[in-house]
Symmetry: C2
Amino acid sequence: MKFCSECAHPVSLQIPPDDNRMRYVCSNCGAIHYQNPKMVIGSIPVWERDGELRVLLCKRAIEPQYGFWTLPAGFMENGETTSAAAQRETEEEAGARIQLHELFSLLNVPHVHQVHLFYRATLLDIDYAAGIESLEVALFTEAEIPWEEIAFPTVEITLRAFFSDLKKIRQEGGHFSLHAQDIFKPMRPGLAPK
Amino acid sequence: MKFCSECAHPVSLQIPPDDNRMRYVCSNCGAIHYQNPKMVIGSIPVWERDGELRVLLCKRAIEPQYGFWTLPAGFMENGETTSAAAQRETEEEAGARIQLHELFSLLNVPHVHQVHLFYRATLLDIDYAAGIESLEVALFTEAEIPWEEIAFPTVEITLRAFFSDLKKIRQEGGHFSLHAQDIFKPMRPGLAPK
Ligand SMILES: [Zn+2]
Ligand SMILES: [Zn+2]
């Protein structure tokens, strides 16, 4: 940020009165321009037939991580709810209609000022189709997932926790629980979200 | 937003290519200025002695809702995690040190572009003190809570769900679970967060 978005005067970094952090402040109109973390919201769309469970992944057609696989997810928009965002992103990126279940993972990525949320979901049909931000959309069993080509650490963590919970539930009963985790550094340098 | 924060040129509202929403776009430098929801993070700080459980509330010294009571909470900052934000806000507003537990509530407030998260917490001591944004900080049993003077619907929903869960757990066992709710309109017109 270089200029005030209210009056076009140059801004400077300073700590406002009654604050303890550097902010972009406009000395002309007095506006303080706060910058806050963004939420990235997605779903874990599942299709289960004959005891075989598959999840829907999208191959990214955009940077960062062009060509890598991700769960459908994207930035939450003003005016929508977290669950509406999960459904919208699943529709936009994977052309898929889902029944949304409860929140499954909450992952902080403080070095990029993001919080990622993923909801469990059931595909209502398999008439999915790659959206404009995807090269390809496909269903994968756990064994088929291209683990070396997953776009973001938060997606890998969510998928691994999901299949781990699933195995436990099938063996011992119980239910899915919220997975909360903080990612302080890129897990694989050079492959982290920018 | 009236001017581009990168080049000071006037911005205009338009739908960029490959997008489907109105954004503030700069025709001079091409910057697209996205606006996204903000996260408000807080805690439910609990002090339990002789079977009597009390929660710590803050009387607001700032607008909106000056003079009304709230759980300690505030905007998440860049570079921090959701749990760090909950601890920081509890320290700043209530001068209180807590042990943070799991996420208790996730409340969407789409008409103000906010998502509110509250974590369960245990007070480590009762040497709390009003911070600069609070007039007063005090412990309340469920019966003592000034329900008519609660600052925000998300705080009231969180407190009611917390005591409801607590009663159920004491009677039937079990544990706290995540409460997710969407608030589409102010519960009490005129008293909603601005
Ligand atoms: Zn200004
Ligand atoms: Zn510009």
